[in-house]
Every structure is written in C-alpha cells, then in structure tokens.
C-alpha cells in the first residue's frame, strides 16, 4: 500500500510540474520575423485590407507577389483583419512585439499614442524626394519633425449622385447649401431617399460635419479645430454654426429615416439599389463605377459633386474636404528592419501602389498619378481627378481624427445624439470638449 501511495504521489507531482511548465510557454517565437541561416528573410505584413482579390487589397497583394518574385530570398507573410479588429490587435501587438510592416493611419487619433509608445521606425524623408508625394501628404505621418510612415491614399469627402435620376426628375446639382436642403423635400416627395448616410458608425457624420465646417471657416479650419481640441472649448461660433447646419440637415430629412442606426453597407445599398439619389462617402468608393454587382444603369450613371458652399462661409466651391488616411509603417524593433524598409520603399515606388491603384480604380493615391491616365477611365474617376486637380484648398484631417482616440470615440457617439435631437447643439459641444481634457 505504501508503495502505491509513493508511486501515485510521484506521478501526481510530475503532472503538477508539467502543468506549470506549460504555463511558462516558449517565449522565443515572437511575432516579428527572423533571418534564417541561409539568408532567407521572412517579412510579416499586418494589413487592414481583408479582401485580397478586389480593390486595394488586390493592389497590395500584387505588389507583394511581384516583390517576392524579384527577391526569391524574401518571403512575405500577410495577416489581414478588418479595421476595427485590426486596431484592437494592433494594440495587443504593440505590447508583445509587432509584425515588421503594418498599416497605420496618419491622424493624431491613431498615430500619437502609437508613436509615443515608440513602436514605429523612423524613416528618412530624403529617400522619398523623387517619389512624387503630393505636397502636404506626409504631414500627418510626421511627429515632432520625424517621419514615421507613408500615406497610401488621398481621400475626398463627396456626394455620389445618380445622374440619370437627377435628369429624369429635373433636379439640379446644388451650388449652395440652401439648394441642397431644398432638394430634400423635392426628392422625398418622389418616395426616394435624398442622401444615403452611414450614421450608425458615427465617423461619416463627423466627416460631413468637418466638410460643412471647412466651408464655413475656409483655410482656418485646422487652426479652429486644433485650438478647440487643445483647450477643450468648442464654443467658437463657426463650430456652433456647422453643428446647427448639420442638425438642420437632419431635420430637413435629407438623410434616410433611421440613418443614425444604419451601417455602411445598408446606406450604400440604398444608393446602389436606386432607392437613394445621393450617397455621402469618401472618394475610395469610386470603384462603384466598375463594380459589376451594381445594376448597369445605376453603375454607369454615378457622378460626384463636393459639398456646396455655405452662405457667409469663407471657402470657395473649389476648396474641398480632403485628407490622407491610411498608409504603412515599419516596426521599430523588427529584426529585419532594413529589409522591411526596403520592401516599404518598393511599394511606394511611383509605378507600384499609385499606378496599380489607379488601374484598379481604387481612388486617389497620395502620389501624383497624372501620368497614368490612359483615357479609358470611368467618368466617375475622371471627375474625381478633375475635382482634385482644380481644387484651390484642401481641408486636412476630419475633426474626429484630429484629437486623441478618447475624443474620437466621444464625438462619434455624441454626434448621433445631436443629429437626432436628443442632445442640444450646446450640450454636444460641451460634451466633446470634456473628452479633450
């Protein structure tokens, strides 16, 4: 009996020890890639483009495949997650070790915290002098005078509209904001939604608000917003006027019923199914014109106009709401940092991201694309290029992305309350001011 006891005790002790060892785990396999003995290099790319067969994701994948073909010793592994999930995992990675090349957003709401944490590698601006970056596009990626990433797109806030529907009903593209509001009743009468709006997400409403604000303040937009964010005081008359206009727009039923609870897909569907006459979104949706899932008589009739001028506003019709959103950066602690930067630079060679992006109609890149025009572009694409080339001023980062992420979360939720009237304009401005402190 005693022997059995002894044997069993020993067995159980061993079992106990092994569970403890499992707990310790193997810490040597981090996320960042390693250099093999034979000179083989693996670069890990963490991307927010999950669809690898269409649009931007396809462009990214094409460049990766090309690079691996040119450099047989380099292997690039891609991990892709949707934006929300991407940002969450990005944060987890920043604590435990990041992949080598990552997608980032050149906006204070994302970049400030990340750069302060010291996880992004500094890039040399001189390397990119002949990469044809559009003027000012690197500003968002610069922190304390140092460059931490490169922008992929130039985004413009636009109204997509169904030209045929407009012509058939005798509606005109509005030149002033009052004309836009006037359209609301006319279009609603026909049982059609005037503007499809993704209000459930909060950020498109913020982009819209920023667009209206830019029309009021003109080139003072950035200073107005950054001052307000710095002091937490949003009582400036321009901010108040812009918010009141947004509220008036909502009250005039310019957006679909229940827009503040509908998501991106639902809003876009209203437009692409012909149930809405317009759709307010970024220029990245220009690929709608080539999307065969959309009925042909709608797809070929999509055109754009930018936010009309506001009475008493300082901005001209050609001053547009545009900014540089997503881009890429390199992990500061990557073991293959040099190789990763080499790959990053390859992606940004003018005939890569920019050219392929153009050919796939995925909107505008942050680099000069004029030399890739073939004349076979869709009307929509030509129109967008035209808008950008004729623009006199660009707004810069939308209001929600100019502060910390706490501010972003706050304004994106509060803006729904002010639009549907459950919060007054003043309460809204106070509430978002509080989030800045």
């Amino acid at each position: 009996m005693r022997r059995i006891t002894k044997i069993m005790s020993t067995a159980l002790t061993v079992a106990m020890a092994s569970t403890m060892l499992v707990g310790c785990g193997d810490t040597s396999t981090g996320t960042a890639a390693k250099k093999g003995d034979d000179g083989q290099v693996t670069i890990k790319l963490f991307s927010n483009l999950t669809d690898r067969k269409n649009g931007q994701g396809l462009v990214e994948q094409t460049i990766i495949d090309e690079y691996m073909k040119d450099n047989p010793k380099v292997k690039i592994e891609v991990e892709a997650l949707d934006e929300e999930a991407y940002k969450t995992k990005f944060k987890a990675y920043s604590m435990s070790g990041m992949p080598d090349v990552v997608s980032i957003w050149g906006q204070p709401a994302f970049l400030d915290e990340v750069v302060e944490a010291g996880v992004l590698a500094e890039l040399n601006p001189a390397d990119y002098s002949d990469y044809k970056f559009v003027e000012g596009s690197l500003t968002g990626y610069t922190y304390d005078g140092k460059l931490y990433g490169l922008p992929r797109n130039t985004d413009i806030g636009v109204f997509y509209y169904n030209q045929k529907m407009f012509e058939d009903n005798g509606w005109e593209v509005p030149q002033t904001y009052d004309e836009l509001l006037g359209l609301a009743d006319k279009i609603n009468e026909k049982g059609i939604v005037p503007v499809a709006m993704d209000g459930g997400d909060g950020w498109p409403l913020c982009v819209y608000l920023a667009d209206v604000l830019f029309k009021i303040t003109g080139t003072d937009y950035t200073s107005t917003v950054s001052n307000a964010i710095k002091t937490g005081d949003f009582s400036a008359p321009e901010l108040k006027k812009a918010t009141e206009l947004l509220k008036a727009t909502s009250d005039a039923n310019l957006f679909q019923k229940g827009y503040d609870t509908q998501d991106y897909g639902a809003a876009m569907n209203l437009f692409t199914n012909g149930q809405a006459a317009m759709f307010y979104m970024g220029s990245w949706e220009t690929s709608m014109a080539t999307n065969e899932d959309i009925a042909e008589d709608i797809r070929t009739n999509i055109r754009v106009f930018t936010m009309p001028t506001v009475e008493g506003g300082k901005a001209a019709a050609t001053d547009i709401s545009a900014w540089n959103g997503g881009g890429y950066a390199v992990n500061a602690n990557s073991e293959v940092k040099e190789e990763a930067i080499k790959f990053l630079n390859f992606m940004y060679q003018p005939d890569k991201l920019s050219k392929y992006g153009w050919e796939n109609g995925v909107g505008l890149s942050a680099q000069d694309q004029s030399s890739y025009m073939t004349g076979n572009e869709t009307e929509l694409q030509k129109q967008i290029v035209d808008i950008l080339s004729k623009s006199t001023n660009l707004s810069g980062t939308p209001i929600n992305d100019q502060g910390t992420s706490a501010f972003k979360t706050s304004i994106e939720s509060e803006i729904q309350s002010v639009c549907n009237g459950s919060k007054s304009v003043d309460d809204f401005l106070t509430a978002i001011g509080k989030a800045c402190k």
Binding site: M1, I4, T5, M8, S9, L12, T13, A15, M16, T19, M20, G23, E84, K87, T88, K91, S94, M95, E113, V114, E116, A117, G118, V119, V193, G199, G200, D201, G202, Q256, K257, G258, D260, T261, Q262, A266, L270, Q275, T404, S405, A406, K408, T409, S410, S413, E414, Q416, S417, N420, G421, S422, K423
Partner: protein, 324 residues
C-alpha cells in the same frame, strides 16, 4: 486508498490544476485590473499612477450611468417578463406530452442555437425603418409604418426585446428540466386531495422549483450585467449612448478610445457590482425556514453548552464538598 487521499501532497496536487486555472485566469487578471485601474495607461508605452482619478471620473460619467441603468432595466426585464413566461411555458410543455412536447421544446429553443451575429443582423433588418418587416406589418394593419424602431427613444426597448427573446430558450429549458424532476407522486397526492391545476402549480410546482429559480434568476442578472455581443453588433451602444451597456462601454473605452486604465476601472466597479448582485440574490433566496432552523440549532447548542458548564461546576463543587 484512504491513506492515499489523506496524504497532504496528494490532496495538494489534485486541487492544483484547478487552483492554477483560478489564479492565472481569474485572480491574476482581477489584480492586474485593479492595478491598471489606478493608472492612465493607454495600452501602449509608459504610464503614470494617477490614484483614484479614474474612479472620480467614472462617478461623473453620464454614459456609464446610462449603461448601468440599461443593465438594470434588462435584469428587470429578464426577471419580470422573460422568466415568468419561460416558467409557464415550461409547465405547459410538461403537461403536453408526446410528440407535441418535443416539437415545441425544440422550437422554443431555436433562438438560442442561432449565432448571436446572425441574430443581431436579423433583428437589424426586422427593425429597419425603410424596408423592415415590423414596419411592413404595421402598414398591413393600416398604420403609417414609418416608425424608427432604433431611434434614441425606442432603441433600448427594441434591444431589450431581442435580448429577452434570445435568452428565453435557456431559461425555459432549465425550468422544464426542473419541473420534470419533481416527483410525480406529489401531483397524484395533490389531485387526490382535490387540488385544482393552478393550486397544484402554486403549491407544489413553484415551491419545489425554488432552487432552479434561484439559479436561473442569478444567471439572468449576471447575464444582464455582462451583456455585450448583441448590443455591440446591433447598435454599438447608439444612437448616442442610449443602448450602452457596461461591458460594451468597457470595451469601447479600453480598446477603441485607448483608455486602458479607465477601462480597467470600469471593470473593477463591474466586478464589485456583480458580486453585490450575487450576494444580494443569495440573501433574497435564502430559505427562511432553514435560517430559522439553523438559528434554533445554534441557540440549542449554546443552551446545551451552558448546561454542561453548570453541571461541571456543580460536580466540582460537590467533589470539593466531599473532600471537605
């Protein structure tokens, strides 16, 4: 074998896996949460200790207050609407018997089998003000059919209905099992005594179901407090913060607003509220007779001890006298 089980080392190694799991999966995260709750950690980089700042802010945080109110509403909805219906349906099912019983049991449980993501999308479409099913039904009955079911005023009720509907199957199944476990001879005895259907339900079924009800209600309250997935997928807590729930708010603050420290402070308050709720529920459900009996036993014990003491004192006195 008995000797083996009384070996301290063996006992220790047997409880160790469970203990380790508890320490690393529950206790350590709670301790870390408490620690981070005192910092301004963003989730990345360095951070400072800021004392009770997070908790002070939490006191004035309107969104957090709304999320607690909503959790309370949901808990009340669960207890007052979902559970009575679940119990009645379970009792009816029990009486049904045969094929109908298993058919309806299955039907009522279906919402629980469907993934939450599907449920949220499904109800999103049902509630859609432009082409949703609900508004079309209203139209069919002659209404205007332009109600926005998810606007600031209606949203919380619409969300509650989804949650109550979705969790209904579980509650019903547990009640159903509870009812099935009641000794049928009791019902026979009741019917011999001439008890009516409702009397049998109130006097036999209900009292015997008490432990089941206790478990079910506790689980309902906890699930109301930690509600997250459905709300996150259906409304993301909006419009504004009107359908905000504590767990969703915690996620938003911790992971999208980069206020990891603040998120942890919410987590700590959240744990405390859950604990209080559990203790309070246990108090509510404590068997009064049992309490009285336990108290009686304790008094009895005291009396006996006192008597024993006085007896020994008397004996001692007697022996002293005898010696004297």
């Amino acid at each position: 074998m008995k000797k083996l089980y009384s070996n301290k080392l063996v006992i220790f190694s047997l409880i160790l896996p469970g203990l380790l799991l508890f320490i690393f999966a529950i206790l350590a995260p709670i301790c870390l949460s408490i620690y981070y709750g005192f910092t301004n950690y963003t989730g990345m980089g360095t951070y400072d200790m800021i004392g009770l700042e997070n908790y002070k802010n939490l006191l004035h945080d309107e969104a957090f207050a709304i999320s607690l109110r909503n959790s309370l509403l949901l808990a009340i909805g669960f207890i007052c609407i979902q559970h009575p219906i679940a119990m009645i349906i379970a009792a009816v099912l029990d009486k049904l018997g045969g094929r109908a019983e298993s058919f309806f049991r299955c039907v009522y449980f279906i919402p629980n089998v469907i993934s939450i993501a599907v449920i949220a999308k499904l109800w999103g479409f049902i509630y859609n003000p432009n082409f949703g099913l609900l508004n079309n039904i209203v139209k069919a009955f002659g209404g205007k059919g332009d109600i926005n079911w998810l606007d600031e005023k209606n949203a919380i009720w619409s969300v509650l209905i989804v949650l109550i509907w979705h969790g209904f199957g579980w509650g019903m199944l547990i009640y159903y099992t509870g009812i099935k476990n009641i000794d049928p001879t009791l019902y026979e005895a009741a019917s011999i005594d001439g008890a009516s259907q409702s009397q049998t339900f109130l006097r036999v079924t209900l009292p015997l179901m008490k432990p089941v009800i206790q478990v079910n209600v506790t689980m309902a309250v906890i699930s109301a407090l930690k509600q997250m997935e459905t709300v996150y997928l259906l409304t993301q807590g909006g419009p504004g913060n009107s359908t905000q729930f504590a767990a969703n708010y915690l996620y938003q603050q911790g992971f999208t607003a980069y206020r990891y420290g603040y998120g942890n402070a919410i987590g700590v308050i959240f744990i405390i509220i859950c604990l209080i709720a559990t203790v309070a529920l246990n108090k509510v459900f404590e068997d009064r007779d049992e309490v009285r009996m336990r108290k009686h036993e304790r008094d009895e014990e005291k009396r006996r001890n006192a008597m024993r003491k006085s007896v020994t004192v008397k004996n001692k006195l007697n022996s002293i006298k005898a010696v004297g």
